[in-house]
């Protein structure tokens, strides 16, 4: 991508803006054609089946939803915890949260067996279902974060930004708790069924969200030819490192707990030491690419002087995040349900064998549509409104001295 693309209206480089829009639009076109194709032919054209019921679209969708709630953290640190440096980034953070949530939800909806019944999903609620609660949290998130953005951008409403920001913060914690619980509440499956999923997803969201924010911020600065202040970069990269390390910690606790329960050994052997794609993705994708390598990069002494290192580390966290979602969602289903503990099982319905999943191009296109949606919304928003962080360096110095 060109280095000098300016997304702010002030510098008026129209052609690059339209190029970006066309790029996103092209991907969206692919997504929509995949949607109509699948709507006509059914899910038979996907790799998903009666064993792996949630596949690639859900990997992208859940990642975007988790990252969306996490990206709002930047705003929360500013508005709720009063850090000036983060407050300057609150509008961008809020807007990204909305864009990414919209992207994630779009994929979830487009993948439904009956997407034409979206109105049913919005009007029939089973309040015992954590899935139904998620829908309420998602819709509420749009409303609350939208309101929060207004309080940030309207001078008269500025005093309201703190209480509304607090509400948004609490709401996003509830939202990610509910998203993690979608998996945590699945009592029958060895890969899920753990209360740890709720806090673990919150920690993941902190890492993925901040990483997404740093990537977008880096690109915006670069395109506007602005150098990031070293102090700002140092603080944000340290925070990302803490979140990534915490994510690794939760992952370790989940698997150590499982290793202590004899009934979970088979599953852990399958995931941690198996001869399958999930083992590779777990160790290489989630742990090394998404965890250890970014940590080494972020703690490198040159990291705060070199924005490229931070940008790359954040990008790796995002890649590792997708690997984590694939392992969690598809890997959790690939391990067969144990109907008769202590027995070997065979049947015509794939009992007792590892389930296979080969995604088709259609569900890949569907999944990429989520990222394209978030990308398009962000591009347009950054173009029409001022989202570029406006730092007041005197305040930041003051804050740094206070510690």
């Amino acid at each position: 991508m060109a280095n000098n693309v300016c997304l702010d209206r002030a510098c008026g480089k129209h052609s690059q803006f339209w190029t970006l829009l066309a790029l996103g639009g092209l991907v969206m076109l692919g997504t929509l054609s995949a949607f109509f194709y699948l709507e006509h032919h059914g899910h038979i054209e996907t790799g998903m089946n009666n064993q792996i019921v949630w596949g690639l679209p859900h990997v992208f969708a859940v990642f975007l939803i988790v990252a969306a709630s996490g990206v709002l953290n930047v705003a929360s640190i500013g508005s709720v915890f009063g850090k000036k440096m983060y407050k300057a980034r609150a509008p961008l953070s809020g807007m990204l949260a909305l864009a990414m949530l919209a992207g994630g939800l779009a994929v979830l909806v487009l993948d439904l067996g009956r997407p034409d019944r979206l109105i049913v999903a919005m009007t029939y609620y089973n309040f015992k279902s954590i899935f139904a609660w998620n829908m309420i949290f998602y819709n509420g998130f749009f409303a609350i974060v939208g309101l929060y953005l207004i309080t940030l951008m309207d001078h008269k409403l500025k005093p309201w930004s703190k209480p509304v920001g607090l509400l948004a913060f609490l709401w996003r914690l509830a939202l990610t708790t509910a998203t993690g619980s979608i998996f945590g509440f699945l009592v029958a499956r060895a890969g899920y069924n753990s209360a740890l999923y709720a806090p673990m997803f919150i920690i993941y969201s902190f890492a993925y969200g901040l990483a997404a924010f740093l990537v977008v911020q880096s690109v915006m600065y670069k395109w506007n030819n602005i150098a990031v202040d070293e102090r700002i970069l140092a603080r944000m990269k340290n925070l990302l490192a803490v979140f990534v390390a915490a994510g690794l910690y939760f992952t370790a606790v989940l698997h150590l707990t499982n290793l202590y329960f004899a009934k979970q050994w088979e599953f852990e052997r399958f995931l941690l030491a198996g001869d399958n794609v999930y083992t590779t993705l777990f160790w290489l994708g989630q742990v090394v690419v998404g965890g250890i390598v970014p940590l080494l990069m972020l703690f490198n002494s040159n990291a705060s002087k070199n924005p490229a290192i931070v940008f790359l580390a954040a990008l790796l966290v995002l890649v590792g995040g997708h690997a984590q979602m694939y392992v969690t969602i598809v890997g959790g289903q690939a391990f067969p349900l144990d109907l008769f503990p202590g027995y070997a099982e065979t049947s015509s319905f794939f009992d007792g064998v590892m389930h296979s999943y080969t995604p088709s191009i259609w569900e890949m296109m569907l999944g990429l549509g989520g990222i394209a949606t978030a990308f398009l919304i962000t591009t347009v928003a950054v173009r029409v409104l001022k989202f570029l962080p406006q730092d007041d360096f005197k305040e930041i110095e003051l804050e740094a001295k206070e510690g």
């Binding site: 954590i130 009592v187 349900l337 049947s347 319905f349």
Partner: protein, 251 residues
């Protein structure tokens, strides 16, 4: 298991019911033993809602279930107009599972289908309430409000549910099913509502195995209630405390 149903103990329609039982007995003995008039033989009139006084259930005697036999599966496919294909994307409402104890080597063959739990996880997780349990314990999918999210398939401990992956035609008029919704064994609800046994049970009887006993668990006089009382039986994944309507004997 809930309290066995005694019609006379029910204040609401106990009187009417007792009267009709007496009437049926009189009619039966007056005409011929075992032969009843039209209407009286009905389990319930068509315009009456099912109630929780009935709990439909099944006992599978795995000692009678033949390892090579798939008559129940074939009967299910015929009754419910399933294709009978067994690819990863094809629907299977009932399947034969062969199990072997890893310690003792003991082998069993048994049919696995929706267990019609009293506390069904699929019903708990369904966002729209499409996954539902009828008052008489039969767990169904209301396809009119199923959005095809497949969360119930994630939640079911028995892998009893299938998703319809392609457009369908030639459905049984009594068993609507179609693309984009989740489905599973209904205990042949269309047959049960007119007082017939599920197709699998009928087929098993016909084959002479008689491994499946179906009926009202709440009625102490029913074959299934007598059978579960007489023999030790177990729930699959009993640790989950779902109180399944289907129980297994001999494992």
């Amino acid at each position: 298991m809930s309290e066995p149903n005694r019609p006379e103990s029910n204040p609401e329609n106990g009187g009417r019911r007792t009267f009709m039982v007496a009437g049926a007995a009189v009619a039966g003995s007056a005409i011929a033993p075992g032969v009843m008039l039209y209407g009286i033989a009905q389990a319930k009139p068509a315009d009456e809602a099912v109630t929780d006084k009935t709990r439909w259930g099944m006992l599978v005697d795995t000692t009678k279930c033949n390892s090579g036999c798939t008559d129940c599966v074939t009967a299910c496919n015929t009754e419910n107009a399933l294709s009978g294909k067994t690819g990863p994307q094809d629907s299977q409402w009932i399947r034969k599972v062969e199990i072997k104890n890893l310690q003792t080597g003991a082998q069993n063959s048994l049919p696995m289908m929706c267990q019609h739990c009293e506390n069904p996880p699929c019903v708990d997780v369904c966002p729209t309430g499409a996954s539902m349990k009828r008052a008489d314990g039969i767990v169904l999918v209301d396809r009119h409000i199923c959005i095809g999210c497949r969360y119930c398939m994630m939640a079911c401990p028995y892998k009893a549910r299938s998703f319809v992956h392609e457009p369908l035609t030639e459905q049984n008029p009594e068993v609507p099913r179609g693309k984009g919704c989740v489905e599973s064994c209904t205990f042949c609800v269309q047959r049960v509502d007119r007082d017939e046994k599920p197709a699998c049970v009928e087929a098993c009887d016909k084959a002479g195995h008689k491994a499946l006993v179906f009926g009202d668990l709440n009625n102490p006089e029913s074959d299934v209630a007598k059978a579960v009382k007489a023999h030790a039986s177990t729930e699959v994944r009993g640790d989950l405390r779902l109180n399944t309507g289907v129980r297994y004997q001999g494992i």
